[in-house]
């Protein structure tokens, strides 16, 4: 595995064969290739590694109530008073390693009285340090086993302090003055003179509920009844965490162990069972229940923070009804079909505003800008036919013969050259506001840089 760090490929992780050849972590890839030309590498993905470690952490909590990640590649579990459940400390380790090996994970593990001791031993062979034997087992280890900076370890080596046991014999005050308090803290933590708890972070709340039924059901009303009960439980969970659901998924397990899935999206975070239930009705109604449904599982797949709100306010009720409408429209037409306009800072007419899904953005005020005048409707450029004159004196647009009464312009708009827009590849456009004697006021343009002399219509004024 290689990782690109500060502009150079480095070895991020390597297998046993590679380390036997003499490669080590953090080595430049070029050097490693010089030593071992047959080296095969793959880019590392720290994000996925982190996720995998998190999954392992959840699994490791079977060995003790407090399981935490330790750095980027380690796990620490507090097994105080737990080991006898697995038959003893040695048996616990054997069980852990057997299970990991079965899953294809190459891991080293160690058990010690202190977190520092376990850390050192796990990286130097693994095993169990029996109670009271910390100093005898850790003593012969090099000082780098103390979780200290490499620079500090080097400095200690220069003083002739190579082993952990050496550190315990020299006076502490000069050490602390020279290398800082960090070194002594690590030493004390490793030898159990200073406590170091396993700071396991709390699990992220899981917003999912399920119900298994003794008898299969098939009627829509029955499924909705069960769903309502599940929703109440889920919304209680959401309320406790001050979260609101944005997307919900209902899995219906049939008797023949096939499953159907119903998903709904919400226009804004919500935890009101009755209103969410109404959105599920259409999806549940369409599900084929087969031989019957005997298990339901409801989970909020996307949640957002939702602080408690005062209820009963007329304005809040109106906002609720509006977001219900957007949810209803969004669940049938797709949430991207319900749009809202946002201002954008571009002079290109098509890009002078944004259309974004109304469910994902709130309204933003448009700047009060009245000049230059813009048309109220905009359409993709339409070629004018039978044009005479420039600006056109007569032309035909949408099968209407029009005569120009007045023409204002030109207003030249140049394309954003940093964006490659095929519609603007003919360069700048000269826009004219043409009032016709028939009444229509049109926005016409031509592209002076293009070879053709065609005129196009792109908008209608008030």
């Amino acid at each position: 595995m290689t990782l690109r760090a500060s502009n150079a490929e480095q070895l991020h992780c390597l297998n046993e064969t590679a380390s036997r050849v003499g490669l080590h972590r953090g080595m430049a890839l070029a050097d490693a290739r010089a030593i071992c030309p047959v080296l095969s590498t793959r880019p590392a993905d720290p994000l996925r590694e982190g996720r995998a470690l998190e999954e392992l952490r959840r699994w490791a909590s079977r060995y003790g109530p407090h399981a935490a990640k330790d750095g980027a590649d380690g796990l620490i579990v507090d097994i105080s008073g737990v080991a006898h459940l697995f038959g003893g400390e040695a048996e616990t380790i054997a069980d852990l390693e057997a299970r990991l090996a079965r899953a294809g994970v190459l891991a080293k593990s160690a058990i010690a009285e202190t977190r520092g001791g376990a850390w050192a031993l796990a990286r130097r062979g693994g095993g169990v340090i029996p109670e009271g034997a910390l100093l005898t087992r850790l003593g012969p280890m090099p000082v780098s086993a103390l979780r200290i900076e490499p620079g500090v370890a080097e400095g200690l080596a220069r003083l002739g302090l190579h082993k952990i046991a050496d550190l315990t014999t020299v006076p502490r005050a000069p050490l602390s003055r020279r290398f800082g308090s960090e070194l002594l803290r690590r030493l004390d933590q490793a030898l159990g003179m200073q406590a170091e708890p396993v700071a396991a972070e709390a699990d992220a709340p899981h917003f999912g509920v399920r119900m298994t039924l003794p008898e299969p059901i098939g009627l829509t009303a029955d499924v909705m009844g069960v769903l309502d009960r599940l929703l109440v439980r889920l919304c209680d969970k959401l309320k406790a965490a001050e979260q609101g659901a944005r997307q919900l998924r209902l899995e219906l397990r049939r008797v023949d162990s096939s499953a159907a899935m119903v998903e709904v999206g919400l226009a804004r975070p919500m935890r009101d069972p009755a209103r969410i239930s109404a959105l599920f009705f259409k999806g549940v109604d369409e599900v084929d229940s087969g031989f019957g449904i005997d298990g339901l599982r409801l989970s909020a797949t996307v949640t957002e923070a939702l602080a408690p709100e005062q209820i009963g306010h007329a304005q809040a009720r109106a906002a609720d009804e509006l977001s219900d409408l957007i949810s209803r429209l969004g669940n049938r037409l797709g949430f991207e079909a319900v749009q809202r306009f946002l201002p954008a800072s571009s002079l290109i007419p098509e890009r002078s505003f944004l259309t974004v899904p109304a469910a994902s953005a709130g309204p933003e005020p448009f700047p009060a800008k009245r000049r230059p005048r813009r048309p109220v409707t905009l359409f993709p450029p339409e070629l004018l036919a039978r044009v005479s004159g420039s600006p056109p004196a007569r032309f035909s647009w949408r099968r209407m013969e029009l005569t120009t009464l007045r023409a204002h312009g030109p207003e030249r708009i140049t394309p954003d050259w940093w964006l490659d827009d095929p519609a603007w590849r003919f360069g700048a456009r000269d826009y004219w506001r043409v009032e016709t004697s028939e009444g229509l006021r049109l926005w016409l343009f031509r592209t002076p840089q293009a070879a053709s002399r065609d005129w196009y219509a792109q908008g209608v004024f008030l």
Binding site: A318, R340, T377, R441, L462
Partner: protein, 199 residues
Amino acid sequence: MQTRPDQSFAASIDPFRLLNARVHEVEGQGRIGFALFQAVRTTGPVFWICLAHDRDRPMPLAWPDGVAERLHLVETRTETDLLWATEEALRTRPVALVIAVPEKPISLTVGRRLQLAAEAGGTTGLMLIREGRGSNAAETRWTCDPLAGAADSTHQRWSLSKNKKGTTGIYDVSWNGETAAFHLVPQAGERHQPEAPPP
């Protein structure tokens, strides 16, 4: 069936006030301008429902102040979806105005359903239709066309060709699309008497 009070007195003050909780129709080249004129006179959210393949799209930069922030654009793939979305929006109480751009003629059933939805939600609906594709259930039908005028003018002829609860009429207005204010332009009439001699 609920009988609504006669609004003709209010209508006599303001000829362009659309009756609330009803669906109206507007046709002609200037129909989008008329829809925007009605949108600026409301205060609540406005829904604009059109078909995804419709080429004419509203352009928020030119709209009156405060309309672009309140407007939701709903794109539907089929005509059925469009009518369904219109009905849903009409049934929602806080929505102030629903503007729908159907392509096919509105049948009497559809028109009546939309009226019922508007009554249930107390919202106003405005259907932008092509020439002659309206339904008899519409409360009013307007024909709006731009008029040529002096330089930079924004004259429009808004003629009320059908009105279930009041009179029809032809109005020439000048509305510049910035505020809710408009000018009624006296129509140019033919002079039947010779001009009075100068004093």
